[in-house]
Symmetry: C2
Subunit: 150 residues, 2 copies
DNA sequence: ATAATTTTGATGTAAATGCATCAAAAATTC
DNA sequence: GAATTTTTGATGCATTTACATCAAAATTAT
């Protein structure tokens, strides 16, 4: 069994840190780009689901979103019937930043996949998707306080 | 071009957060397992190279190592001729913890790859290795202060 | 050899992260 | 329908992370 964990960890840390450096010019601090992009692509999403989408802790999501709201990039709107949830929407000011983040992420992907054939790229995408689905179940269980046994 | 970045980010965050939860029982706080494992496997490594191995910032490595030293899990030894560097070694107390970390990481990998055939697993490993090498060059350049253009 | 640059380690400071906990609304159970 | 549990949001606190900067040793250039 190949040690895919370490490879994945290295790639993730490397690209995340590059992104963070580059997005400082748009006043985005560490990690903020992640939340902003997902909110842009899922208008009306609630914070709880945003956490599951990115796979980060609830409290982390909430603070990140609070900051985006303070910066005028995101809006929280109450629900008409469910008084517990808040829907998130990106503001018009977020749009140009969103475009830049996507451009940068696309470039990073190109760098990562530069010497892979289109077939290999597709293959990698599919295999990663399957691995991610496998992992998501465990992650949500641990978030709910369950313990893994092995 | 498939969006491998997001898949990789999700998997990395999910498994890292699970690991962090589980290793608290060994008094390892967030991220420490990463450093400890690499030091165990590379006796005598210096902090600078440890950063490149894990792909984290130099100052982050230094504080993480300082803490492991304070916990008695790692030792810093000066070099006989080069007075600038410090070699890192895991102490005997680190060994049982190392074994547990490896066991947990192996389990996580099994979960992630559970429904992939051995061929698919190998393929994923190879493709990720290539992507990681591609990314490493960019990461080291950005760490040295260079700007990417795209 | 001397000067300039790079490497390696370290720390102050600001910020994100994540656990524990609370609170209120909603959903479920009895 | 009342009581219990779950869901969703929020905050205090301890910790890691990372940038900027410094310092000293080593390397390279002049």
């Amino acid at each position: 069994m190949p040690d895919v964990l370490r490879e994945i960890g290295m790639i993730a840390r490397a690209l995340d840190s590059i992104s963070n450096v580059e997005f400082k010019q748009y006043q985005l601090t560490k990690g903020q780009y992640l939340y902003l992009v997902r909110i842009c692509e899922h208008p009306g999403i609630i914070q709880e689901d945003l956490g599951k989408l990115i796979m980060v802790e609830r409290s982390t999501v909430i603070r990140a979103v609070q900051k985006l709201v303070a910066q005028g990039l995101v809006e929280k709107r109450p629900d008409a019937t469910n008084h517990k949830i808040r829907h998130l929407f990106a503001t018009p000011q977020a749009q140009p930043i969103y475009a830049r983040v996507i451009a940068e992420n696309t470039h990073s992907t190109q760098v990562a996949l530069q010497d892979l054939t289109p077939t290999e790229q597709a293959q990698l995408g599919h295999l990663l998707q399957r691995a991610r689905r496998n992992v998501a179940a465990d992650w949500e269980a641990v978030q709910r306080g369950q313990t893994r046994h092995y």
